[in-house]
């Protein structure tokens, strides 16, 4: 099968869906420009015309309400934010309006609405270009929140989000845009709510979100060489999550089943810890795996600070594969593993210069 990047997977999903349904439109600041949202919207205005793919005034909140209105009248908007931090300007529309419109209408109208928000990191992104905050949005009933990790996920979840008929926010990590893997050419869906076992293992479960799956995979390879078998579970969707009244998928079940097997759980969330998704996972695991847990659930996430801008400080801010290995050593009471000969991911090997 051909391989494409995460970025191209998003672009391909958008094209295939827009070809299928003329009521889908794509918009946002800089969507049709020469950079095309890091390439994910490149050439789409040329392909579909300025009525269906367009740039907007710098009015995030209003452009979000605009999408809601278009959705009420039968269209499917895809609204793109180059950074999550800019999407925060639309918090009122997302949280006060869009999340509750269907509820207060008792389902009289559908609200298909896809919001794409890109998570920045590195090269001086700092405290206003690097936020994730997916937990904040997952906290609100009426919004679906997905975090595709792989290129395969990106295409399948994007198509599912477009067809879902509900508001769905997709958090796309900028560093994942370069990930390449086999992706089917034909359209396919991944059910929103379904998680993914990224790696099978027996000794410890690592629940990871977004970029932290990459760090967890690095850590797992090193741990494997040292005789530790890690299972990595990527929930992919963090709302709906689990068996509450609105839930359909298996994301929570995959985590619970895995911890029941391994008896140990680390959550590596690509976000802050306090009141975050990692706390939700730790709580669910504690409730549902109380009898099998051999150690308390351990959590890894961003430092409890705004994101610093300087390279050496941001390295301190973000958790990485080393931190995960240390956490596994601590949970499983292992002797420290010699990491002096291991190489870890660093973006300098991938990329230089501004986003």
């Amino acid at each position: 099968m051909r391989k494409i990047t995460y970025c191209d997977a998003i672009r391909e999903a958008t094209i295939q869906e827009m070809e299928r349904d003329p009521n889908i439109f794509l918009y946002g600041i800089d969507v049709p420009d020469h950079k095309g949202i890091f390439g994910s919207t490149l050439g789409l205005q040329e392909k579909f015309g300025a009525n269906r793919v367009f740039d907007t005034p710098l009015s995030e909140d209003t452009m979000t309400g605009f999408g809601l209105g278009a959705a009420l009248n039968g269209m499917t908007p895809i609204h793109v934010h180059m950074r999550v931090d800019f999407m925060l300007l639309a918090f009122n529309q997302l949280v006060n309006m869009i999340s509750s419109y269907n509820y207060s209408l008792c389902g009289k109208l559908r609200i298909p609405f896809v919001v794409r928000a890109i998570v920045g990191r590195g090269w001086g992104q700092g405290f206003q270009h690097s936020k994730t905050m997916h937990s904040v949005f997952a906290h609100v009933p009426g919004l679906k929140v997905v975090l595709p990790t792989t290129a395969y996920d990106a295409k399948g979840l994007m198509i599912s989000a477009i067809r879902d008929g509900n508001p769905v926010i997709i958090f796309e990590h900028r560093w994942l845009y370069w990930q390449e893997e086999e992706v089917p050419e034909e359209p396919y869906t991944i059910p929103i709510g379904d998680g993914n076992i990224i790696r099978k293992g027996d000794d410890i479960t690592i629940v990871a979100t977004s970029w932290m799956n990459v760090e967890a995979a690095f850590a797992a390879k090193i741990l494997e060489k040292n005789g530790i078998s890690v299972e990595i579970v990527d929930p992919r969707t963090i709302s709906p999550f689990g068996n509450d009244n609105n839930s359909v998928g298996n994301n929570e079940k995959l985590i619970i089943d895995s911890v029941k097997k391994t008896g140990h759980c680390i959550v590596a969330d690509n976000d802050w810890l306090n009141c975050g998704f990692s706390a939700e996972v730790a709580s669910r695991v504690s409730e549902k795996c109380f009898n099998v847990l051999e150690k308390p659930v351990k959590r890894l996430g961003f430092a409890n600070t705004p994101c610093p801008t300087a390279r050496h400080l941001e390295t301190e801010f973000y958790p990485n594969a080393r931190n995960i290995i240390k956490a596994v050593e601590s949970v499983l009471n292992l002797e420290p593993i010699d990491l002096s000969k291991e190489s870890f991911y660093t973006y300098e090997n991938k990329f230089k210069g501004p986003f």
């Binding site: 909140d61 809601l68 009420l72």
Partner: protein, 326 residues
């Protein structure tokens, strides 16, 4: 022939005005029973705006409104059964009580929704107008109207939305129901400019500044606005002044609160006239129509709706959990 049309139009306008007034008088009568557990933002005084505009855009026109939308809702839908069923949170309401007074919505009648966050529905209306333009290409029967108060003009999203509509040349009428009050705060405390209509008229739009309680004249202005939309393909801004008879939220007068005087209210009514009374005079003295028969019929209808609502069961507890998602 013209006279017959005049009679029909004016009668229709009056019936709608009277339905709204009669419904709100009934709310005032029964609210103390504490069975309508929903914050009432009363429309009293603004009826001519809702009726004149909604009648002009017809059934196909779509309306977005605010937490103060009893008048707009009834003007657009005349569904007084549903109106009271929702106030009493009963099974018979299509919203099952999940909306209440501040969140009325009736898509079957193109009453598309309301918001209690000031100005938040303006951009939604603009998006709806975009979809209409996209789907129908031409404008005439698919006008979107968004109602908001003068307080909403202080919000950034008003300016963003208005800019967008002018930029995209959308078929939409922005109706500012200008009572000079944002809750209890007067315009001079809130604005660094004199006239909203002057400023707005610099955009690619047509702006109307209307100070009238006459439903027929507001109806005619709106018809003119629709013609302009079709001819020039630009949005319309209408600032229409009115006097808010009652407190910001609640069913009572609050002239004792000190931010405005009863004297001011009396003077206003003396000069401008109450919108219902004004149209009643037109019917009775100019068109020789017996208004009291119409009124009796409407009062009876309102009473019946209230009785139906009171006697209906509450919506099911399971409604709490439904429709979070489709």
């Amino acid at each position: 022939m013209q006279n017959e049309k005049d009679i029909e139009l004016n009668t229709e306008l009056y019936k709608k005005l009277y339905l709204i007034r009669s419904s709100e008088l009934a709310i005032q009568k029964y609210y103390h029973e504490d069975d309508m557990k929903t914050p009432m933002h009363m429309s009293m005084g603004a009826e001519a705006i809702s009726v004149g505009v909604c009648h002009a855009i017809g059934d196909a026109g779509q309306v977005f409104a605010t937490y103060r939308s009893h008048a707009a809702f009834l003007a657009k839908t005349q569904d007084v059964d549903y109106f009271f069923a929702e106030m009493y949170a009963k099974e018979t309401s299509i919203l099952k009580g999940k909306g209440g007074s501040m969140h009325l919505c009736h898509p079957d009648h193109n009453f598309m929704g309301t918001s209690a966050i000031v100005a938040s529905n303006i951009s939604v209306a603009v998006g709806a107008a975009f979809a209409n333009k996209h789907k129908y290409g031409k404008y005439s029967s698919n006008i979107v109207v968004v109602f908001f108060g003068d307080g909403a003009v202080d919000e950034g999203t008003f300016w963003e939305s208005f800019n967008l509509a002018c930029l995209m040349k959308l078929p939409i009428i922005f109706v500012c129901e200008d009572n000079g009050l944002a809750v209890h705060t007067l315009i001079p405390t809130r604005r660094g400019y004199k006239s909203i209509t002057d400023i707005v008229s610099k955009f690619n739009c047509e702006a109307f500044d209307i100070d009238s309680t006459d439903v027929l004249s507001i109806y005619k202005y709106t018809k003119e606005a629709i013609d302009i939309i079709n001819e020039k393909q630009c949005p319309i801004f209408m600032n229409i002044r009115y006097y808010r008879y009652l407190e910001h939220v609640g069913i009572n007068e609050d002239f004792d609160a000190g931010y405005r005087s009863k004297e001011e209210f009396k003077n206003y009514i003396e000069i401008r006239k109450d919108p219902i009374e004004l149209q009643r005079l037109r019917l009775v003295y100019k068109l020789n129509i017996e208004a009291s028969d119409l009124e009796k019929e409407i009062d009876d209808k309102v009473s019946q709706s209230i009785n139906k609502a009171k006697n209906a069961p509450f919506s099911n507890l399971s409604e709490t959990y439904t429709h979070v998602f489709n």
